[in-house]
Symmetry: C2
């Protein structure tokens, strides 16, 4: 397993059903593809969720930023590169680069993950997995292209006096393979606040997410938000039966740019 | 283009994010994969939507049935075979077979498509496209394996005294690249009527859909349904501003089997 290259490269086709009304890859599908690449990279190298689950451990995504130069469109083949940037005892940072088939850089991603015990939900030491095998995959000065990514780290998201925008019920289709609310469904719910006419005129340039607690299915999510030019800021809350106060699931920041000369 | 084989074969990986709480491919994602295969098959052979759209025409899915022997699970590689079964002047039938990497037949699909003029929305003659090129791809007696599919044709779906189960708003995430409600989002909305506890105990064996009119985004869908053992029957209606009566978008039939010895 540790003979594999540090950089994982995975190709994906942009399927028609993953596209939005502008025939471009939905942002939530794009991030899902990046997370798939992370899943393959860690699985092949001996520290993926299937292996960890057998030992009562799992990865949880803590923070994520994705910033795009260009969103790929229907039928395009794209490559997602992903690699381990840094490893600390209790979390690890993983970066991403998205490329077109012709090698054009489409965008970048940065993420922070923790490994937790699935029973106690407490963080576990990454070094316990195959004697710290993960550290052999950290990029080194000789991996020049991958040492620095040209986008800011995942943002610290602060909301001043947010308003309640919407309360959405959560159902089977919101639930992931772990039994929690799928992280990208939060993105869909937040993007659904904007009408179709807005989506036809605005590109999503960058998305930041900070996960606070796993969302519980079949309990509504309350989406609070505010606009702080050029950013839309959101937090997702739930009323859990055991708590008297609302519980926070995650925060999101959306940076958009108006569309120029788009094919509508 | 007409040197290509009649049967198209496309491989897909079951990505983690396409899986449900049982770590199996969601039924809506499975059908989306089949529709992607149809898209590739028709595109490569000169009668895909991109080519048709340039001529002011498009394919619309009229009826569909998918019946599964086994639902693939996370990380599995599957192959979708698809081919043209019959061609009539105003519609064409296309079949599907899903296989595991080891060649096990996982399930089958049957579908009926019409070609329409995107302005008038009226059917157009399939023979107008490259002088009836599509007919050269119809399976023949020598394509033995593909001549007969072992599942019933898409069902005629009749509902006796259905009840209104739910009214769901529709948003950006419900809209497909054509600007209509995505056909598989209907399946998600219908499956969302069943609680998570039901999904943990029931497998979807077969899905039938009949499309009546394209769903209009940003207008709620009203899901009516009834149970007629062993089938759940649904119809999706919308209140369109220009009509005094409800308009029907589609009908669905769901056949399920209880789960035996599943990994919950």
């Amino acid at each position: 397993m540790n003979q594999l290259p540090k950089i994982g490269r995975y190709s994906f086709r942009v399927e028609q059903y993953q596209c939005n009304v502008r025939k471009m890859l939905r942002f939530s599908s794009l991030v899902n593809i990046m997370l798939s690449a992370a899943d393959y990279h860690s699985t092949e190298r001996g520290f993926g969720t299937i292996y960890l689950n057998e030992m009562g451990k799992t990865w949880v995504l803590s923070r994520l930023a994705v910033e795009m130069e260009r969103i790929p469109s229907r039928h395009q083949e794209i490559t997602i590169e992903t690699w381990i940037d840094k490893v600390h005892p209790l979390f690890t940072s993983r970066n991403f680069r998205a490329l077109s088939k012709e090698g054009e850089v489409l965008g970048w991603g940065r993420s922070v993950w923790a490994m937790i015990d699935t029973t106690t939900r407490h963080p576990v030491d990454l070094m316990e997995i195959h004697d710290g095998l993960i550290t052999t995959f950290i990029v080194k000065p000789e991996d020049k292209e991958y040492l620095e990514v040209p986008i800011d780290r995942p943002a610290k998201i602060q909301l001043d006096e947010p308003s309640l925008f919407r309360i959405d019920n959560t159902y089977f289709s919101d639930v992931d393979f772990n039994g929690h609310i799928n992280s990208m469904r939060y993105v869909d719910h937040v993007l659904d606040i904007f009408p179709l006419s807005w989506h036809k005129k605005n590109n999503i340039k960058r998305l930041d997410i900070a996960f606070i607690a796993e969302g519980r299915p079949e309990i509504p999510i309350k989406i609070y938000g505010t606009f702080n030019h050029p950013d839309y800021l959101f937090k997702i809350m739930q009323d859990l039966p055991e708590n008297s106060e609302e519980s926070e699931a995650c925060r999101l920041r959306l940076r958009t740019i108006p569309l120029v000369g788009a094919d509508l």
